[in-house]
Symmetry: D2
Subunit: 365 residues, 4 copies
Amino acid sequence: MSYNTFGHLFRVTTWGESHGPALGCVVDGCPPGLRFTLAEIQAWMDKRKPGQSRFVTQRREDDIVKILSGVMMDADGETMISTGTPISMLIENTDQRSKDYGEIARSYRPGHADFAYDLKYGIRDYRGGGRSSARETAARVAAGAIARKVVPGMTVRAALVQIGKHKINRDNWDWGQVNENPFFCPDPEMVPVWETYLDGIRKAGSSIGAIVEVVAEGVPAGLGAPIYAKLDQEIASGLMSINAVKAVEIGDGFAAAELSGEDNADQMRMGNDGQPIFLSNHSGGILGGISTGQPIVARFAIKPTSSILSERQSIDADGNNVDVRTKGRHDPCVGIRAVPIGEAMMACTIADHFLRDRGQTGKTR
Amino acid sequence: MSYNTFGHLFRVTTWGESHGPALGCVVDGCPPGLRFTLAEIQAWMDKRKPGQSRFVTQRREDDIVKILSGVMMDADGETMISTGTPISMLIENTDQRSKDYGEIARSYRPGHADFAYDLKYGIRDYRGGGRSSARETAARVAAGAIARKVVPGMTVRAALVQIGKHKINRDNWDWGQVNENPFFCPDPEMVPVWETYLDGIRKAGSSIGAIVEVVAEGVPAGLGAPIYAKLDQEIASGLMSINAVKAVEIGDGFAAAELSGEDNADQMRMGNDGQPIFLSNHSGGILGGISTGQPIVARFAIKPTSSILSERQSIDADGNNVDVRTKGRHDPCVGIRAVPIGEAMMACTIADHFLRDRGQTGKTR
Amino acid sequence: MSYNTFGHLFRVTTWGESHGPALGCVVDGCPPGLRFTLAEIQAWMDKRKPGQSRFVTQRREDDIVKILSGVMMDADGETMISTGTPISMLIENTDQRSKDYGEIARSYRPGHADFAYDLKYGIRDYRGGGRSSARETAARVAAGAIARKVVPGMTVRAALVQIGKHKINRDNWDWGQVNENPFFCPDPEMVPVWETYLDGIRKAGSSIGAIVEVVAEGVPAGLGAPIYAKLDQEIASGLMSINAVKAVEIGDGFAAAELSGEDNADQMRMGNDGQPIFLSNHSGGILGGISTGQPIVARFAIKPTSSILSERQSIDADGNNVDVRTKGRHDPCVGIRAVPIGEAMMACTIADHFLRDRGQTGKTR
Amino acid sequence: MSYNTFGHLFRVTTWGESHGPALGCVVDGCPPGLRFTLAEIQAWMDKRKPGQSRFVTQRREDDIVKILSGVMMDADGETMISTGTPISMLIENTDQRSKDYGEIARSYRPGHADFAYDLKYGIRDYRGGGRSSARETAARVAAGAIARKVVPGMTVRAALVQIGKHKINRDNWDWGQVNENPFFCPDPEMVPVWETYLDGIRKAGSSIGAIVEVVAEGVPAGLGAPIYAKLDQEIASGLMSINAVKAVEIGDGFAAAELSGEDNADQMRMGNDGQPIFLSNHSGGILGGISTGQPIVARFAIKPTSSILSERQSIDADGNNVDVRTKGRHDPCVGIRAVPIGEAMMACTIADHFLRDRGQTGKTR
């Protein structure tokens, strides 16, 4: 089954392929009365768009978002106000080089979705990976920009914390650094290390995996739900839906397997302001599937892109053994551009749960 | 929002609390014509039920499943045949000791859902954790037993691969050992190590985390879907919905972050039988969200239960600082009993995708 | 596809057949903090239960509801308080006479679901119609009793307005009469007419259709939504899901086809209390799919039951021509017992939309 | 809640307002391998588009559909082949005259959604009715054109059977006439009557209601499902979601209330070809919510448009009494243009159920 909608009340439906005229999304369920500008949305798009450094694909796309419905223009001629009806957003594809893909129309690139798509559908848009292309994630970022407006006071930020075996030093974490380098790296000491490391990989036509950490702050307590709409479950679902993601963890994640109950328990005390205080955040801000008011912390792993210059053994659609190397423009580390996408999925998931809790109508909120 | 249904076409709705008269589930969307016996279902229940060794909670529940609807009895008086209508299953609670929980009616156990439930609902069934109790998972195992029948030829097995820092040696992996020890451990050399280790934890009234690996074999290629119903996404969602799970990975998972594109690519060759062969399974049997026909491999981490004998700092519902220790019967390592639950969620998820692909009707299948 | 859940946020999943041990429902999404007694729920059940007059089936069922989960008992030992977790309700089948159905195990009763079920599923619980039996509606009434508690101030009432060609005189409408006669008839002058008419039908072993009108008052304005969750659309869906219903209309319904725009427009004026007043209610309380605050008015038609004593031409599962007459206990006018069921579906639909608007959480409401 | 998606597996999400730059839809869940041309889709659009006779609104829209995703072009450069990914379709608004609507920006047109939208959302796109405009239905017709391709051998046709009190003579029914007059009237003798009648209404600036009948032939038996996804229930839901529809009936509909069980039962006999034959079709092709293979017959009533030249009493957003007359371009009988829309909703609903039954994947079908 093809299924291209994410969310239950804040519903994002994305459409479009890498090499068609355009791609986009419909954001349905957005409450009325939200105020935003095109420039605000575009700013998030610009974080994700390709071609911004030598460490990401050299495809050139401006990724300009057009809003086709669901808003009225305020008197200032710039601020859009959501009306509660679906917001349709469209992004044109401008830099398509279909000739790059001619050779792989019938060969399956190892590690790519080619083989699985053909098995499932019996037909496949091989140009740029078609629907399995990471270009689909542009629409997610646009939707995420709207989602950020849904939850008042929420901040969602992400950073790259590991490339290959090179992990940041968490003691150096500085959110202010994240947008100051081409890696969304919060540790300034790690930047030159990654630079050298990725240059080597890039020149070799190879690729490498990475880990992204996403943190949402200002999330109201009480969001999420037992049993099958747990906030952590749906965050995991959202992050795992990103291309190339192979693992997700919340709070301490896999490390919790090595903790004792004493160490893992986030103890509490009443604060001077009469508000509960947690003395630690092993849980990643979620208990029993419900937000506690602490920062929500998730991490996800992105595998290395399979588009590499080395030949790999494979087969083609006719059942022949073939050797495949990918000559198009690709990312040595797709994890870099996954950073704003992870933010978008986190923002959409929390917005969805916020609306489940609070309802969707303007007047009654 | 309370949401207690899992799945889209194979839909499992669970209900019931730890200390009510019963709990159960409704399995809706089950295709007609499946044949099974109560004994088959009960066998899976028995794997999960408490009180089977000193390493799990001493609560005594027989967890006898009754089937109330959705089947006709075959002439043998034993085999049930699904009719395509909802299968309602009920499990009575027999060993409830509400007195154990009196003290924590208003105090929040650190690491438990108590605080989050009160924040969300303003009312909480404190007896045994109410709906957040792991007893809910009995219903999942019953549903999973049905799910196994939906996909012909599918086998779903799980094993415990790590307790605390003690990891199994994968070279010793022997599925035949898994049901021969109280840990569902596939490595016979690790069993005595875990035994000694957990005895220490148990006697100290402490607890420890663990990691479970689930493997589904015989899964048809082509299940799953782009973009927001990826098979790995939904497996992650299912596993993350299990109590105390904090992390999920597919295939190489987090380790993929450290791999190069060359190493990560699962190369292919045509086999002698004319079928494609993968030379490795880094992907865990899923590419682009779609099953490839390889075994599907997932792992998940379970945090240590927060029910421990040591006092922990907390607050109560009236905003007082309190110290909490949990005196009820509990599991030193809840990861053990998570093994059959992980199997059940994997089976249900795959069954759901199988029906999306194949449709649900008897005659047309 | 088998699909047995009604509603989006207030979700009712029903299960059970006419001749199994029990039937029931799970009400999921019910907000916490609702207060009700078993007696209140039972009162609605008693309106629907069979055997209450000679004009309905003589099957004897007490239809006693048991609540298995989702509530805590208040200190008075009688009032239940919803906790926000799923409410499982169970009703035992006590008067099953499977022998009555032996002859039709393989013959298709004309007008019944027998033929369609066999075509779809290839297997059919012929005993009492199995899942297609009107006994399923007992679970709806139980769910409706909860739904009534969800929307503060809402009243949902229904009445029978037509049997065969005998229509009530609307000038005689008296809600106080509805529960004073075996027909839920609001027109006391019509009662003796229907009595005589139905006695004739009953003695002839025949059956007749009817029309029910449902009115919901005290429904907040602003419920419902464009475009595909219109309140009238979902009311139509709910009512059309009742067995034997063939038509639904809102407000003037089919009569609107004969009205001019001038006559159909519900004009408005500001009332002395500063609230808008509608001068008529052709719309049935819904404009653009959204409630206006006026009473919501719907009508639905129920076909005559096909279980009649006269022989009808049919076929059997082996492809033979057969003649079928139904000898079991049946309703001369199933429309009578549809009255409380129509109320339940209306209540559930409005509760669902209420929660969409207001959210589901206790603390935040 | 705003909800703009119709269908479960064949999912149509529509977006766009009457006066924005464009409107459109995303058709998700369409199986791969369907073949169609733009011209085929456009032909259905042309049936619905405005300005085709003096009896419908004089708004001039070409309603040209663009397909932005989800298809590959066949070698003929004309035939599109669906790939199984979402099909995004876009229709530009070209004839918008916002000045026509200035006066009603704050006044509520009686019978329109204006008041309800303001109550719900607190903000309203008053230009042309915004999202509540019938222009939204252009997207439905485009989706319906795809849906027709999903079910092999299915034909869906509709006709106008009543305007005001003027009903067609069913004995004159001729499908060949339907596209030969501006009313989609199947009775050639009625055409001049309606012509004269509607001319009078048009010149008076008034409006009138109508009834449409939709018939689907070639629908496989076995589609639909108990209990809450009955085929008739979902057809009712789809038709009731069309603007201005107030009533829906299946088969004999409301007339079934006056039938005896003997008359209503559709008797059966085995045909000479070994296939079952129904001797009548009171049921409208659906029994127990499941298609029988007979033609599926539904009717729906459309109220008169509330946009009329006569002044009607109303209020404005500031709580003043006002008198409103609508000066824009409008339809004297919106029922006419509802004919292709009714076809589209029927086609989409059946396609959805077809995919539920058969699954959605190319290779496995």
